[in-house]
Structures are given as C-alpha cells and as structure tokens.
C-alpha cells in the first residue's frame, strides 16, 4: 500500500496500521497504551493524527492505500495534548519526576512540551501494594492503559490481572483484588516491563538514580535462552529486563531470569580460593591463588603420574559457557590425558542426545522454537513448561488460546493440562507403552504419511511387527489410562497438519529414557512431521542454560566437540594435530561410573566444575561416599556448595552475569554471553581457572580468550565451522549446524536428508519395559521429582534472592485421598523413606498429583531429596531414573503440647 505521512510518500505492507506507517516514515507520534507485543487498544488517545481531516488514533486505524496522514493536524494534535493533560491531571506530581528513559508518560509530556495540566481536580488516593518482593504497585500512578492486563493475558497467559472500578477510579488489580503476592501472578515481569507510567515497577527501577551500564546477554537459568538486558549501577545489578527484539523470548522473561539476580552480590559468594591441607577432617581455609593452584596442580599431577590419567574424573558444568566446556574437555584430554569427562546432561538429556541422534542424526531438537508459531497441535510429553521453561510455557498457552490443539502426556495435572484437549495422565514409567499405543493408532487409522515412510524413513516393518503387541487397550492398561484417552490423543496428533512435539525430563529420566525418546520420535516420523517443509518436529526442553552446549563442546567421555567420536582415529588425528597432544582412544567414564570407580578405588581424584553433585545427583549418599573415597576433590563454585564441603580445593568461580562466551539453548541456538559485572574479590571465571591450573601443571591450553576458544572449536568441528564471536556480535544468534561463515544456521533440520548413516529417519521398535524401581507393599508410593517455578536446580542461585520469600522451603505434593488415609493435614510433616534414605517434608495437599504418587524437588539442601532417589539408570546412557522412586510415607506425630507451648 502506498500512502503519505506529512507529504512523505511511503510503502507499507497490507495489515499495517497508521502508526506503523508513521513510524516507517520516521515521524514521531507519542503513544501510551501501545506496545508492539500486544493487540493495539487505542484508548489513551495521545496518538491521534489527522486522516482526511479527521482525528484518528494511529495505533488502531488501519492504513489504506492512498491515505494522507498528517501528524501535525491541528485538531488531532490539540485533542491528543488535551487527552494527555487530562491524564496528567489525575496523577500526583511525582509521576513526572520519574526519569524519562523509564517513563513513556514523561516522554509523551516532553513531546508536547507539557510540564503540567490545564485541568485540575481530584487525584487518586488509592495507595500502594508492596506485598510482592518484585512487582510493586503504585495505584495512584495507574493510567488504566490496560497494558499490564493485556501483557498478562496475551503474552504470559496467566490472566492474573484485570482493571477494576469504573471511570475515574479504574485501576489495575491482581487476582480478586487482594494483596498482589496472594494473586495468581507468576512474576514474569511482563506488566512491569510494559507499564508506561511507573504504576508497576520493581525495586531496582523505582530507585531514581541512573543506570550506569546496560549489557545484553543470555539468561543463565533454564535452557530457553532468553536474551536479557542487564542494567547495572554501583557494580550491582539494578534490574534485568527482556530484550524486545530477542529471537527466542521476544520481549518476555520469567521470575528467574527477570528478577532472581540478587545472588550475584550475596554476602556468601566465594571470593578467595579455599584449601583443606590438614586431611579430610580439617576445615577449608582461605588461600592465595598461588597457594591453591600449586596445591591442586601438584596433587593432581601426582595422582595422574602415579595412578594414570584415568584415575581422574572430571565433571564439567552445564551452567558454564561453551568456551569453558571446550577448555575443560581439552584440559581433561590434553593436560590430564583422559576421556573421563562428562557433564550433567548425563543426568537429564543424555537419552535425548543418543535417542535423537539415532532417530534423526543430530544430538538436539529437530526444529527452531520459531516453528511453534505455525503448529496446529502441540504434544507436550513429560515436560511442565509453564514452571520449568516459563517463556516457552507462555508461548504454548498463547498458541492454544489462538486455536492450536494441545495434548499433554504427564502423570501430573500440570498447568497446561488444564487447557489441554486431551490429558493422558499416564502412570510414571509408562511412556514407551503410551507412545507405542499412539503409534499403533496412527498406523491403524491411516494417519501415517506413507510417502514419507517410503522415501525418508527406515524400520517400518520392525516397528509394525512390534506394534502388533500394542493395541490401544493394552497400551492404555499399561499406562493406567482409558483406551479412549489414548486414541483421542493419537487422533489429535494424527489429524494435525503441522504437529509439534515438546518434551522434557519426564521422558528421559527413566530406566528406559532412551527408548522413550526413540518411541516419541517415532510419532513425528510416522506423521512425516520432521524434516519436511513447514514441519514443527521434536523439541527437547533443556533443563539448564547450557546443557546442550556442554555436550556440543565435547564434555562427554565418548565424544569430542560436535559429537565426533573419540574412537574414530581420523577425528582424533585432526584434534591431535591442532592440540599437539594425544587424545586417548578409549571412551572414558560417565558420571555415575566415576562415582562407582571412586568408591572402588580406581578413580582417585574428582575435578568438579560448578556442579553440586552431592545435592543434585541421584542417590546422593552414594555420591558423598565416592567423594570421601577420593584422594583429591577439586571444585569450582560460586558458593560453598554441599559438594564444596567435600572438596580439598575450592576455586571461587563466577556466575553467568560475570562471564564472557556463549551458551547453546534448547533449540541449538548459539547466543552470546557478556559480562555485566566484574567478579567480586578474587573470584575468576571457569575459563580463567582452567588456564591457571593448566599453567600451574606446566601446560598451555592455547586459546587465551573465549573468542579464541570458539574459533579453535570452529576449525575442528564441521557443525560449528561458521560460528565466531565476531559473527554472533554482528548478526545475532545462530543455530548449529552452521558449516561456514557465509551460511545461516539451520533451525529446521533434515529438509533434504536425515543425518543418519543411511540418510533416513530411523523408526525404533522398542518394547515397553517396567521401570527400574517399582512400588511394593513396603514402599507403596511413587515419588516423582521435578521443577517448581520460583526455584532452580540446587537452588544455589534462586534461594539467595527474594524468590526465597515466595517459597521458603520444600514441600511434598500429596493427593488429599492419600493424606486422609494417612491422617495428614496440609502442612503436617511426613517422613519419606526410600530404599536408601529418609527425608522429612511438610505435605502440600493437591489433586494435581494422582493418588499413590507424590511430587517434590531437590531445590533445598535441608531436604536432600536426592538421598532418596533411585539408583537405577537408563540402560543406554546411564541417565538416572529421577522420575520414579518407590517410597513409604510415615506421618511425623504432632507434639501434643506444641501449640500450647507456642502461646
């Protein structure tokens, strides 16, 4: 469409608004109720422009061919200014004292040259609500623009906010109007981010002092990979806001990435190295870097030289950058001379890496998250995105609200199940049965894409033969659901034109987790919903920020960077040339094998970077015994973790907000991480610590900067060959594979061919096998572990922030029927006993959990959930069966006089 703005001719796309045209022409019209993330509302009336002599709101008026738009139209401008003056007349004077860069209202007043209002009269006197630790409401600054309400509805999908009152008294309320903290608000921060007047603010931005620096980086919490703007002042984080042009989060964030940053300046940050040089029972004491490095280097070298390189086990960190992981595996292979390096993806998504690679070729999700925009049906299996990956959870909600169908396969009635077309509430451990049952229906009822199966897939005959054993009623019986539910799920997925699969740890963390991934992948292959134009594929939701990257960078016992096998002599030769070293040919130990070897005396030293294995690894009593058996334990961490308490040397490390490098998110997107803060005290990045330790051992790891490390990795790894910091800084995030500097990354994979040996997607015929641990008469309940919204993993970061106020301790979710049977009321204490340990929790009664099952997390060191968890592991990858632990429940008797004593 061709039109004019103030006589400047301009071309705009169909569907554009007058505001779009005005902005495209470079003209300025102030707005207050407009936010490009939201449906335009046209209610503030300060964007009025002249169209054919009439005053029209620019934001809601559709542009039309030949339209003549006048931004300086006398009537429109006068009325817009009057509207703004009316609005200002309702506000206290402090509304205009907010720094202009934080207040669209102040900027709009500047546009009109307003310093006050010709109108006067009552202002509002409704007061503040500061009940929430992050979201602070000053009702008297509210201009009823409805942006917060729309943000909560249209982006977050929580619907916690609404406008209440009429006319002059219209104001935002949360929930049913009580304190904000008691409302369903999930503190995504969207309302604060969009508020144009300062009515909704957060502690760091309510402080009027200027921001000294803003750094654009990638979030270090979950694997979604949100781009964040980190605003610092006085060497602390004042606030973090989502980048509006961010490719993944698109201007959204969650309570963790957005608000939970106070841990960076927590007083218990480690700021000097610590060593324990008087034996295991002596205390850790502060030491100089020189002393600690010498101590660690000498003892590590001694163990290597006396017991051989394979007597050392190294665990790298999924929270560290790609460059740090690259350096860590290079350290293990060149300085120590062992392949005994692993990372915590072993404990979460190793079955994805192996399963997806076997089915499709690459060890990652098949599609970009952007492809979700085009899906008409989402199958969410074993994932709880609204809590564990909130930005993607919110995206899924919006897709469903706009008409996409939703299938949820989960033993719990998670938030998304409430809006699902079908919820397959399958019993824990029955994934393979469910997926085989669905596959059978897809084939039997003609939903399979036969062309695709003929030309692009292999293994159909074997699968079809296996599926003879999985008629829906049998599969449903194994899963504990009705056959109708299973068939309904299959039909929804089968009838969709562009179905997407989103799955998480509920699929992988099982004794047959790899089978779960393979049989789930089967569904996409049967539908031809992967590797085809417009397909949406299979997305695996990664738990930690860089769990994809840690594996991508070769922090694996059998793989070099880019999943190149250490057993391949040609691959080794290339690395050996560049590294001027000899990469061992034999694969090393996986994490849990390292512990077993340590207990058995074969592994004598453990080098653990940034993982709190003593809290987060399964059967953690066993982990502690392994650490105790070692001659040397070296640890990097930001805080003195449970693991650090078992270490001989602890190096003070830094969190993502102080790091330089890159992360890879769940959809294989490589994104820049930039330091927003300097480290406190003598803390150093893992990158620096590895270099220092190598040097202390007389070695040089090369690649002195993170950019150099990525450059070296790119030369050795065909799938990352096109990646460099320079390019990422210039062009923004890139998906891998990215095979040369002039190629864009591949978001949607396999359009021509799968990366399997025969170029075909491999269907897998895997039978249902029972879980490693099952309930019995002694341990009659199944404990499921997982994630909650406000805390993250070991809690080392989130517990040191005001998130702690929102959930100060862990609870055990229990169905009210079970509680009644056990005589437990909400909040009562219960002892949970597994075959390995006993832990006490307060119970939380909820029917989102099925009878016979319980749920909790391992966010808190005072409730060591992982002392309970199963020692069973995935048969193919060694991934622990975190999702199923047989437990018994025993109420802790009330102390009869406790209430009386309290008075």
């Amino acid at each position: 469409m061709r039109l004019s703005v103030d006589t400047i001719g301009i071309e705009v796309a169909p569907g554009a608004t007058v505001l779009d045209a005005v902005r495209a022409a470079g003209a300025v019209v102030p707005t207050l109720c407009y936010d490009e993330r939201l449906t335009p509302q046209g209610s503030c009336r300060v964007c009025l422009v002249g169209v054919r002599g009439r005053a029209m709101p620019a934001c809601t008026t559709p542009a039309a061919d030949g339209m003549e738009i006048q931004t300086d139209d006398e009537t429109a401008r006068r009325s817009a200014q009057l509207a703004l003056e009316l609005l200002v007349s309702q506000l206290p004077a402090r509304a205009l004292d907010i720094p202009a860069e934080r207040s669209e209202l102040v900027r709009a007043c500047r546009h009109f040259g307003l310093t006050g209002s010709r109108f006067d009269g009552a202002t509002r006197n409704a007061g503040v609500d500061h009940s929430h630790p992050y979201v602070k409401l000053d009702r008297d600054l509210c201009i009823a623009c409805n942006r917060c309400v729309r943000m909560c509805a249209e982006v977050q999908g929580t619907f916690a906010l609404s406008l209440a009152g009429r006319g002059f008294d219209t104001v935002v309320v949360a929930g049913t109007g009580g304190p904000w903290v008691s409302s369903p608000c999930v503190a995504c921060g969207g309302c604060v981010d969009t508020c144009p007047s300062g009515a909704l603010s957060e502690p760091g931005l309510a402080d009027p002092r200027p921001i000294s620096r803003t750094t654009i980086t990638t979030c270090g919490y979950c694997g979604v990979g949100c781009t964040l703007r980190v605003h610092t002042r006085d060497e602390t984080v004042a606030a973090i806001t989502p980048a509006h042009d961010a490719p993944v989060n698109r201007g959204h964030a969650c309570i963790k990435g957005r608000f939970a940053h106070a841990f960076t300046r927590s007083r218990d940050r480690l700021t000097t190295p610590l060593i324990r040089d008087g034996g295991r029972d002596s205390p850790l004491r502060p030491a100089s870097w020189q002393e600690a490095l010498t101590f660690a280097a000498t003892r590590l070298a001694a163990i290597r030289d006396r017991h051989g390189p394979d007597a050392i086990g190294m665990i790298s960190s999924a929270r560290a950058t790609n460059e740090e992981n690259y350096l860590a595996q290079k350290f293990a292979r060149t300085v120590l001379g062992t392949n005994n390096i692993d990372n915590c993806s072993r404990l979460c998504h190793a079955p994805s890496a192996v399963g997806l690679a076997a089915s499709f070729g690459h060890a990652g999700g098949t599609n970009s998250a952007d492809d979700l925009d085009n899906t008409d049906c989402i199958l969410v299996a074993g994932a709880n995105p609204t809590e564990a990956h909130p930005v993607i959870g919110a995206r899924i909600k919006q897709l469903v609200l706009r008409g996409a169908r939703l299938i949820v396969i989960d033993p719990r009635r998670i938030d998304l199940a409430e809006m699902a077309d079908v919820h397959v509430q399958a019993r824990p451990g029955s994934n393979v049965a469910v997926f085989n049952g669905v596959a059978r229906v897809l084939l039997d009822e003609g939903y399979a894409n036969q062309d695709f199966l003929r030309t692009r897939a292999s293994g159909l005959a074997e699968l079809a033969a296996l599926l003879a054993d999985y008629p829906p009623d049998h599969a449903a019986r194994l899963a504990g659901v009705t056959p109708e539910t299973l068939v309904a799920a299959a039909r929804l997925y089968g009838a969709a034109r562009r179905p997407a699969i989103v799955y998480g740890l509920g699929i992988t963390e099982h004794a047959h987790g790899t089978d779960g991934v393979r049989t789930l992948s089967n569904l996409a292959i049967l539908k031809g919903a992967v590797g085809t134009p417009d397909c949406c594929g299979v997305l695996s939701m990664r738990g930690q920020n860089n769990v994809q990257g840690a594996s991508d960078m070769g922090a694996l016992p059998d793989m070099l960077p880019g999943y190149q096998r250490v057993t391949d002599a040609g691959v080794r030769a290339r690395f050996n040339r560049t590294w001027r070293a000899e990469v061992p040919a034999r694969p090393g130990l996986r994490i849990l094998d390292m512990f077993a070897s340590a207990t058995a005396g074969r592994v004598r030293a453990m080098y653990v970077i940034g993982e709190d294995i003593a809290q987060t690894d399964p059967d953690s009593g066993n982990v502690r015994r392994a650490l105790a058996a070692c001659d040397l334990v070296i640890n990097h961490d930001v805080f003195l973790s449970t693991t650090a308490e078992h270490a001989d040397v602890v190096f003070p490390a830094v969190p993502f907000l102080e790091k330089d490098g890159t992360f890879v998110n769940f959809d294989r997107r490589i994104q820049r991480v930039r330091p927003a803060l300097d480290p406190p005290g003598q803390a150093r990045s893992d990158f620096d610590i590895l270099h220092l330790l190598a040097r202390a051992m007389g070695a040089d790891l090369g690649c002195p900067t993170p950019a150099d490390a990525m450059a070296e990795c790119a030369t050795l790894t065909p799938t990352f060959a096109g990646i460099s910091h320079t390019r990422l800084d210039r062009d923004g995030p890139l998906h891998w594979p990215c095979r040369s500097p002039d190629q864009p990354g591949e978001g949607r994979l396999y359009l021509d061919s799968f990366a399997t040996p025969d170029g075909r997607a491999a269907l897998a015929a895997r039978p249902y096998l029972p879980p490693g641990e099952q309930a019995d008469t002694t341990f009659p309940y199944v404990l499921i572990t997982g994630r909650r919204l406000v805390h993250y993993n070991s809690g080392s970061m989130s517990r040191r922030t005001p998130n702690h106020q929102l959930r100060p301790h862990e609870v055990l979710d229990l169905h009210p029927d079970d509680a009644a049977r056990l005589g437990l009321a909400d909040g009562d204490l219960v002892e949970v006993t597994s075959r390995r340990a006993t832990v006490t929790y307060p119970v939380h009664l909820t029917d989102t959990i099925a009878p016979g099952q319980t749920f909790t997390t391992f966010n808190f060191p005072d409730t060591l959930t992982n002392t309970l968890t199963s020692d069973a592991t995935d048969t193919e990858t060694g991934c622990p069966e975190y999702k199923i632990t047989a437990v018994s429940l025993s109420p802790v008797p009330h102390r009869a006089d406790s209430r009386a004593a309290g008075r």
């Binding site: 009336r45 309702q90 109108f119 009552a122 008294d169």
Partner: protein
Amino acid sequence: MRAADIPYVSAVDQPVVLAGLVGGEEPWAVWPSVVAAGAREKVMSEIAASGLRGRGGAGFPVAKKWSMTASEPAPRYVVGNGDEGDPGSYGDRLLMERDPHRILEGLALAGFAVGARHGLILVRSEYPAAADRLRAAVVQAREAGHLGERVHGSPVDFDVEIVVGAGSYVAGEETALLHALAGLRAAVRARPPYPTSHGLLGHPTAVNNVETLAAVPWIVRHGGAAYARLGHPDEPGTKLVCLSQRFRRPGVYEVEFGVPLRHLVEELGGGLREPYRLRAVQVGGPLGGFLTPDQLDLPLLSEPLAEAGAALGHASLVAVDSTVPAAAILRHAWAFGAAESCGACTPCRVGTRRGLELVERLREPERAGAVLADHEPLIEVLTVASLCAFGRGVSCAVRSLLRVYSDELHQAALTGKGGE
C-alpha cells in the same frame, strides 16, 4: 413491588414494531415457511428493500451489517441488544416483556440470514421481568419447533440464549456488550475491527437492538417495499418513541419517521402535566441533546436533529419543566457520564470527572466565573478524542445544555451561588 404497566399507543396506520401488541399479528408467522423454504435471499432482499436501520441509536443499515457478517467465516453469531440503559427509554422493555416472541423471531430471521447457529440476547439486570419472559419465550419456541436443531424440517439449527447484564450503561455499546457476553469486563474497545468480523469470542457477529429485530418479522411478512413506504424518504419506517413522566400522557408511541417533535410533545404527549411548564426537551437519552420549546418543529429524523445539536439516539423524549435549575441538569449530565464511563479511554475516564468538578465550582464565588470557559477544552477533547459514542454523547448533551440554558448558567457563574 411490581412495576407499573407501560402504556403504549400506535400512532401509525400499520403498526410494525407494535404489530403484535396493537395490530393483532401473531409472532412466528413467517419463520416456519421462510426457514423451510431456505429463503435466505428473500430475507436479505426484503430487509435491504425496507431500508431498515439500527434502532439502537447508531442507525447503521441492517442489511449491510448482515451481509458483512454473512461474508465472514463461520461460526457466526447474532446478538440482540436488550441493554436499554437510557433513562427515559422503555420501549425495548415493553417489547421484551410483552411481545418477546417477536424479538425471538426477528433474531431467528437474522441468524438465518447471516448463517448463525446461535443467537444471544443481553438483557440489562434492571429488567428482571424482561429476562424472565424472554427465557420463557425461548422455552416455548423450542417446544413449538421454532428453535433447536433442524427447525421445521430444514437443515437449519438455531437456538437462543438469554444473558443478564451486570449493571453497566456502557454495556449497551456493542463492543462492551460483546465483552459482557463473553464474561469479561464490559469495557469498550476500538473499532475496527467491527463485530461483523470480530465479535463474540472473536467470531463474526451481527449485533442488533431488540427494537430493530422486532421490526424484522413484519418486513419479511409484508415486504420491504411496504416498510419503505412508511416514514420519510430519507429515513423510512417507524420508531418507538418514549415520552417521560412529566408529559400528560407518558408512554411508548410507534410513530413514522419525519413527524415533527411538536406532534409528539403536544398531540401525543398532550403537553406537560399541570402545573408544569416546558423549559426543554432532551431527545435521544442522556447522550442526546437538549432542545428549547421553539425548536420543536424539527422532524424526527437523524440529520436535522444532529444539525440542531441533538441526536435521535434511541428516541426518548424527556421533558424538563421550568422548575428544574440549569446547574442541576448540567450537574446531572456530568454525573451520569462520570458514573457510567467504562474507564477505557482517557477523555471520558478523566474528563467526565473533571466536568463534574467544574459544575461543583459554580458554588464557589471565586471560581465560578471560569466554569463556562473551562468547559470548552473538556467538550473539545470529549468530542474529538473519545473512544466510543458515550464520551461524544456526554459532550453533545453538555454542549446543548450550555446553549439552551446559556442565560441561567452565565448568571450562576456570575453569582457563584451554585445556580440551584
């Protein structure tokens, strides 16, 4: 306490809207044959030929609204607007309470014309009897086979739901009404998109006033041409006019468009009850305009009334006698606006409160002098910048009051004694 019966009179030769109440025409006379014959085109063409326009106040051509809705993808909805909020209007209430089947038949014909399977009528909560009678009528119509699945052996499914509002004047505005029907806050939203493409739950919806719907069966039965012969060439047809309680003969009158207001005030209404003397007439509800007795030769037609600073609106006539102080009426106009503003747009949300505060200043000798001049920017911003007809209507009413009561208000501003 039982509300008094509403007096009603047909002042036309052929009652249309009151065809059932005074003309003896049974409802559901045309629906069975029309739907059985699948005569969708006939309904559409008769409505187009009739020139019927929306009677709720906006006056949009009904045939155009229906064809716009019909051209959008299913599911489509038809909605009857029974949120008759104008003080002084009770014609809709009369129809809903006394001839609900005519409205239902009109809604069914509308649904048939646009291809909707569902119709809804929102009745304001202040009309409990109307809601009860509509609900009862829906049950009877289902039993008689007029509503439900495959009505009268046709492939057409059509059913109706009666929804009660929650006490907001602005819910009568169509976008607010659609929000209310969806269970949301009854706030106005910007148009476009219009409800014909984005209406109930985001689906194409034709929203018609219940009086409009009540005219439809007659038009389909007697033909659009017969309807078009009634009224005025510029504005064919008939209209229900409500005369307020100060008239000697208050009630609902069906009249043809184009009759002089004086005919309504003096002949039908019989002038004011003794001992009152007419000082002004407000035409078209609280958002309409005030006219002086010497303006009553204006015809009952949208354009001449708008040119005179009034508005046809829903065509109620509220007589104001000479004992009512000017400032009290001005205060009432602003107070109504402030109380009923939905709060969506700035001019109305804040401006109506500022207007109310201005009137209060007539009681303050040192500030009263500026009150009338200070009205100007308020009226301007409400007129130019309001999001919906409500804010514009408040300014229309206030502007006409300032004209009609110019002398009294200037006097009040001079004295600062409140003018009441």
